[in-house]
Symmetry: C2
Subunit: 137 residues, 2 copies
DNA sequence: CTACATGCAAATGCTTTGCAACCTA
DNA sequence: TAGGTTGCAAAGCATTTGCATGTAG
């Protein structure tokens, strides 16, 4: 069901997973590529993308559904929320418990079949906050 | 403050705004382009993008912060939530009141300076739900 | 008149894909 | 050895940008 295809354990796949788990941040494919390349200098960006996709499908990692133009990946596969810096795009976990009753509230008032929800906070990280001084743009 | 520059009322800008308000959906730049081109055949996609940006800065429309790879625009400038079809990317309003206490909950437990939040529901629109029959992929 | 705006095309940034060579099970 | 996987390069797609020309105020 979850594994329609025979997945293989390749060096590339292993290292990508290890490095992502060690980072403990929410890196983009390119950030993962840069780190992994230290151990596997010949790896290609395409392979990183393909493996992140595969690992997500396997349930080993989580592909984040965030606004913004780049995809990010999370070693933590549990459902949780995030907060993103509008200025530098840094992403942290948002320490707030999952809202379980939300989807039920919507149930009777939408024609959609609800699958889930994403909650994302927007803000300024300490560094950017310092640089800007105040929130105005 | 909101209008650092002298904005001009051009034919293009007018038509884009009118058409967006008439659509009452959550169109992408390209969808708006297709519609506007019926009235202004020589308009360019670049102009559509530039004007959507300007109109959003002017507060006439809202640029939506949704996950997924394309930006969408909303004639409704009030804060509200959305539900997006995972399959066809259709976006509807989510009829649920804004959660006002959310950001306060986070206030003490994050190092970020919170600006706001986005809540997005994910689901299947009636059409896609019919086609698929069930949620499994 | 003079900024701001437009059309056009080229460029950008992120992601995906085709393909031959290469491995893993 | 069969079929998934890789590296490489090219393609894809949404969006942005440079520039000469056009136009609103």
């Amino acid at each position: 069901m979850f594994q329609e295809k025979n997945r293989r354990i390749t060096k590339q796949r292993q290292v990508i997973l290890e490095e992502l788990r060690q980072l403990k941040t929410h890196p983009s494919a390119d950030e993962i590529y840069k780190v992994v390349r230290r151990r596997l200098p010949r790896i290609s960006l395409g392979t990183v993308y393909r493996n992140l996709e595969v690992l997500a499908k396997m349930g080993e990692i989580q592909k984040l559904e965030l606004s913004g133009s780049i995809k990010r990946y999370d070693w933590n596969t549990n459902k949780h929320y995030h907060i993103r810096c509008v200025r530098c795009d840094r992403v942290d976990d948002a320490p707030i418990a999952p809202l379980k009753q939300l989807e039920g509230e919507l149930y009777e008032s939408t024609v959609f079949e609800i699958i889930g929800h994403n909650l994302e906070f927007i803000g300024l990280c300490p560094e950017c906050s310092k640089k800007i001084g105040t929130i105005d743009h």
